[in-house]
Symmetry: C2
Subunit: 339 residues, 2 copies
């Protein structure tokens, strides 16, 4: 890798815009930590003149992200558009084919096309990194690929969707209805305004479970049908009844190996009020890893929002700049084919 690294950011919504500001603020620190010199050479979004919290340099603005690759020399590209297909997929694909490292928080893209894109990255000898796709700012993927990498994983259980956990916690503490609390979550920016469905029906958590399974058990991303149930049908009276039993309702994502078979699921679970998961409230995420010989490891942190997401995106950047990551999924493709 050269000493001078050119960076592009595609997608300047709340996250992309925050990341841009963080990168500018932390440029020197990152350069000291990695020995590289970084320059942001391109940014892209639908609307050049939209009002944003942090200013963008309009001289390096591109309306069409694919144009960046044609016109600029880019080493590392952040894809922060979202969605599993469309321009997200196109720009990631084009980047990898052009030997550009890609960093993304896009769990839908990775859960759907992760195997294909990882192969593409490996073929072109660049990295595809997605720490921010699961658990927000919690370094959970790193922990699987690196910190606990020599352990044998048995089970991973987590509160993986901050929106659902906020709604359930809030229904519990206020006795308010699902639809009222959802509105409140939307006003606070914890739930999407236009289409909160993918959070509420468990799909978002399931994408994260698929990614966790792949890394914990060294497997391709599974396409198996599995139980996926969200929180849309939970009513105030459900919460009231379980409270009397000293229980809480939590939306859990679970993946485990039972009799050599992968068993993934996302659904509301009853947990004791005095258990660890019973005490994870609001938008927090928590993951419990069960592996040998290390035993039980717990990681907890803020699951979403610009701060945590940007922290995870920059940790990927640091690893790439340090030349730390060899395989997109932490294992060689050869090994994965066998699974």
């Amino acid at each position: 890798m050269n000493k001078n690294i050119n960076i592009a950011i595609v997608g300047l919504g709340q996250i992309g815009n925050f990341l841009l500001n963080e990168l500018n603020k932390k440029k020197k620190d990152i350069e000291i930590k990695t020995g590289k010199k970084i320059t942001i050479v391109a940014v892209s979004a639908k609307n050049k003149n939209k009002k944003r919290k942090f200013k963008i340099n309009k001289k390096i603005f591109f309306k069409n992200p694919l144009q960046i690759i044609k016109e600029k020399k880019v080493d590392i590209l952040f894809e922060i558009i979202g969605a599993s297909d469309g321009m997200s997929k196109k720009i990631v694909e084009a980047s990898l084919k052009n030997k550009i490292h890609v960093i993304t928080p896009n769990k839908a893209l990775i859960a759907k096309h992760g195997d294909y894109l990882s192969k593409l990255a490996e073929k072109n000898k660049v990295n595809l990194e997605f720490e921010a796709s699961v658990g927000g700012g919690i370094p959970i993927l790193r922990t699987l690929k690196d910190g606990l990498a020599t352990n044998k994983f048995n089970k991973v259980v987590g509160i993986l969707n901050g929106t659902c956990n906020y709604i359930l916690s809030e229904m519990e503490s206020t006795n308010d209805t699902f639809s009222n609390v959802l509105k409140k979550a939307q006003n606070l920016g914890y739930a999407e305004m236009s289409n909160p469905k993918l959070d509420l029906n468990g799909f978002d958590a399931l994408s994260k479970v698929r990614i966790l399974s792949s890394l914990a058990f060294n497997k391709k991303i599974s396409r198996n049908s599995c139980l996926m149930e969200g929180i849309e049908n939970i009513e105030t009276k459900d919460i009231e009844i379980v409270k009397q039993l000293n229980l809480k309702i939590k939306l859990l994502g679970i993946t485990e190996i039972i009799n050599n078979n992968l068993f993934e699921r996302v659904h509301p679970c009853l947990v004791g009020t005095d258990t660890y998961l019973g005490n994870i409230n609001g938008v927090m995420n928590a993951v419990i890893l069960n592996s040998e010989p290390v035993g039980e490891t717990v990681l907890q942190g803020e699951g979403a929002g610009p701060g945590p997401t940007s922290s995870a995106l920059l940790s990927d950047l640091l690893s790439i700049l340090r030349g730390n990551i060899k395989y997109p999924f932490g294992i060689s493709e050869k090994k994965k084919e066998q699974n």
Copy 2:
């Protein structure tokens, strides 16, 4: 780094012996994950014929670890003797000078000589890794150096000594005396038989605090005098009184920056029974990291014992084999000199 890597293990107590077995068991997996071929070329301990849980290969046994360096070509050495000086320091020093990477769980050594040894490692372009020195199997040092590396840390608080936490939890649940519970801890292998003092008086936790400070705040290991109080004077009646107030006594290690000054301390603290730290019982360790912009991150896991320690030691091995680690303390010495 060559494809063929020679490994030595110095110290074959409970941990070293378990590690040896794990390495043999996981050789293939580690080779697939790193693309290297590993061979254990030397082991060393005081007593060649001591009964051990897992068999050792007596053909590669050395009574004097320094002899290994003279007679064998070693790439990576595990120092698992313990203690801040004596043979531990000698073998680590000699290894680094001979361009041998060193991996150690020895917090006393690192807290006392970490800066000097890190410089020695950097000068000789090898790694000195000590993930296992803090938090047992919890990948806490990695999280500071890597997963959350671009965040600005404000404060780190933790239950860092499993022995003390076990004793306090047990006194609380059984109402038994300190000395009885200590005996129980010793019989269970949670406290040292001959000299449990360094755990009980807070020294072990303080060593860990010093290491955490250095990594969280990019500083040299501090030598500042600070408050260090252990749990030796806690009586059954203390526990009883705080219980009535819905509180628990926990030995906490704390490090934070206040008005640009580093403030480190270890002492028993009162925490609420319904708080996160109030619910960490037995030999568990937990660390709460407060940093920006990621917010609060919590890591929890088993703090000691052969399984967790060996997991951390092998994660260091993996990182070295992957060529992932450039600076012993995660930053260049140049930067650290300024602090």
